[in-house]
Subunit: 477 residues, 2 copies
């Protein structure tokens, strides 16, 4: 167990040590800088660190951790703050370690379909630079997250149904450990059975076991041709059963998204779109030649009709495809814009695809029973759903949390997870034990082994209660 | 560090305890049973355990580990002994834990393309049973290995170039820990970002961190159509450059195999086949419809011709495909049959695909310089090569090991690995540090955390030297 119940405050002496590592220009205690790194895009309250540090190379990160570990100062890594569960919020204060100045592409291994980057590069910017190689990094969470943040969170997004999550698209990383060691994990060889898979241990660990300082990613060829499908259904059940059928058909959708009727109504109003006010599926298919694309569309159309689709639109034209997908791409922001004085609580459960209809029915039913405003938007092809609960006050947030709690337990009962892609952060710690049972003890043991002083992103993923750290620093802010 | 330097011998009292756990019919100290579980298919010498135990359920495994852990008895899990690096050889004696009586399919989740099985089921038997669902488990190491063994080793094989290794085709496992806890890791949800990825920590750990007692696998639809391509080249360079080009073309081969001229000569002699005595590529493509298959074959033919193929045969006919692939499927056994009084040392390096030509050239050059008999056979599409060295005496083995050492270092220098799919076992421990550097210390720390008494498959993956266990029991046999 962690053998202290308080962290050391950041003193001027510590600031001086940080400056000696990264240079004075890369250290700030200015209020504005602290506040800019105090909150992510989720509903969790802001909590500034005591100092923001911008390393510019991996060794800086290692040196900062070594120093922080020796002096028991919390270190919270920060990409660009697009996460949703408070994952990079420095809730115990200490050092906010921002990767905004480590944004280089180190090397493009074009023949290997790989790229090695610094962790602070936002993935959309990286993909823009990779276009001239005809390659792209497939995980696509929407917001322009950094590669380091995406890996730390095992982010995924719209195209995961075909290309996998971050964990499936990373080959090798450099990681700084709590005690200042810099190690490499994984291999640029796509096959490796040499020793323990440390790569996947750090991926998704949200900076609580080590800090990613470099990553080699697996890239995909930019697909030659894409098609889009938009299908409306009379009922949620029909839409969701279609998802299961498309997944079971042997077709290989590159995206398979669901939005509920409340969403389409709002999208139509807000964007003057030609959508029916019905549960809707958005699909995308990638192919190397026209014939395959056309044949796929025909099969999809048949499946949708079989499940009673009331309107189906398909296209292979790039401009029309973008137009069809406009609604999906703008759905979250439209919902936010339409509720100007609201905050949002967003959930992220996922289940095996065969259980998706039951999960969605459960959510619909509870929404109706509780007479609560909520929108459903999901990476249906992955069995993943996001329920968006707008709220204005503490009571509204508590209500959303309570219903989310029920949804999470239902998802776990169906063989699923509390979080498909947003991570545990500070918001889902309470469900970890229900989802993983005794395996949580193993997670704790690994945390203890790799970060005995508990300095790495404390308060995330695992409960700090047993370390005597609960609420302590939280209540002092 | 492990706090004992000897293990406890298996006494009659321990036998009685084992019998009380699994029943007397599932415990044996008969010479024949010990000898049947003393050696895998690799070159490592036989070493029997002191007792063979056949658990029939997960709780048996947990209870055996708890007892063994308390009394410091080594436990070595055994699938069916098809491994090549002594991975399941009980080199410190103790309990040989055989999974030959845990071979059930627990549940087919057909709609989810998943199956849950006991670890002792051989994958070919499982795939035979899954045929009626139109599904199969893609990793295909050749020999009829068990699922548990394949997962423990992160095995892969011929179709990994398209479908990935075992680590990419498993979703959830039940694992028995050294202290007798039974935990679940991973999720049947294909997306999960909840807590640390323990699943991949146990996959490939060769039974040294925990013992797999159940697994849920990801299945693929059996492809509707397959084609085969056989292409001969004048030089190794031309063949291998073609591999890189096919991989870079956006084509998606389901198999992409290389065999050298020495191999084809022998295969022709032994099997009366119509092969040119030249470096040869074997390819397979899977498609959902005829058009895609034909178009792919045309592209492959063009690429092969561009790189100077001297003969190309393609087919979409199943019988002809089998005939074309006959040589590849029988290559290893043909080599063995043609060297009746020899043993074989087999290597398993892998590199990023762009480095494959340099790796293969290096091997060719060293083979010629040393004037040694060696055959090359590789999963070229993965950058993986197996060099087969026949030998008859200790000097021959030492020579093979020495050249393999050079090849491993070359592979590591090229960004690759000492082992793409066979695992570290007892044979490649010496290269782990060169490949992983300081990360090996982290692996040791995890081993210490999960198996503090070092009872789990001792002498594999990590060196036991620092535990005072080197050679000790080995020399007493």
């Amino acid at each position: 167990m962690i053998n202290t119940n308080t962290f050391t405050p950041v003193t001027s002496e510590i600031i001086a040590q940080l400056e000696s590592i990264v240079g004075a220009a890369n250290v700030s205690t200015a209020r504005a800088d602290l506040d800019l790194h105090a909150k992510d895009q989720g509903h969790h309250p802001a909590r500034p660190g005591e100092v923001v540090v911008w390393p510019t190379e991996a060794q800086h990160v290692a040196d900062i951790l070594k120093m922080a570990n020796e002096q028991r100062i919390p270190v919270t890594p920060w990409g660009v703050g697009t996460s949703l569960e408070g994952n990079p919020v420095p809730i115990f204060g200490g050092i906010l370690l921002s990767f905004e100045r480590m944004t280089d592409i180190i090397k493009v291994h074009a023949d290997d379909f790989q790229v090695t980057v610094q962790p602070g590069i936002p993935y959309k910017d990286m993909n823009e630079q990779l276009k001239r190689y005809g390659l792209f990094f497939a995980p696509d969470p929407g917001a322009n997250a950094t590669i380091g943040g995406m890996l730390a969170n095992n982010a995924s997004g719209i195209r995961t149904v075909k290309y996998g999550a971050c964990k499936d698209n990373v080959l090798r990383m450099q990681v700084a450990l709590a005690d200042g060691r810099l190690i490499h994990v994984g291999s640029r060889s796509i096959k490796q059975s040499a020793g323990y898979d440390l790569l996947h241990l750090f991926v998704g660990s949200e900076g609580t076991l080590g800090v990613i300082t470099e990553a080699t990613l697996r890239l995909m060829p930019i697909p030659a041709l894409m098609s889009a499908v938009l299908a409306h259904f009379e009922t949620v059940e029909a839409a969701v059963e279609t998802v299961v059928a498309v997944r079971g058909s042997g077709l290989d959708p590159a995206a398979l998204e669901f939005i509920d009727a409340n969403h389409t109504i709002m999208l139509t109003e807000a964007n003057n779109l030609d959508l029916l006010p019905k549960p809707t599926l958005f699909m995308e298919f990638h192919a190397a030649h026209e014939g395959a694309l056309e044949m796929g569309l025909e099969m999809v159309r048949e499946i949708c009709e079989e499940f009673g689709a009331i309107k189906i639109r398909t296209t292979t034209d790039p401009a029309e495809r973008k137009q069809l997908w406009y609604a999906r791409h703008h759905s979250y922001e439209t919902v936010i814009r339409k509720h100007p004085n609201h905050k949002f609580f967003l959930n992220d459960v996922a289940v095996p695809i065969s259980a998706y209809p039951e999960l969605i029915s459960f959510i619909e039913q509870r929404r109706i029973e509780e007479n609560i405003t909520a929108y459903m938007l999901g990476h249906a092809g992955d069995g993943n759903i996001h329920v968006e609960f707008p709220y204005t006050d503490e009571a509204g947030l508590e209500k959303a949390k309570a219903i989310n709690g029920e949804i999470v337990l239902k998802a776990i009962e169906l063989g699923g997870t509390s979080t498909g892609e947003h991570g545990i952060g500070m918001g889902k710690i309470e469900y970890l034990l229900q989802e993983h049972g005794q395996a949580v003890d193993v997670m704790r043991a690994l945390k203890q082994t790799l970060d005995p002083n508990g300095i790495l992103n404390p308060g995330k993923v695992l409960s700090m209660a047993e370390h005597g750290l609960h609420e302590l620093s939280m209540t002092t802010t």
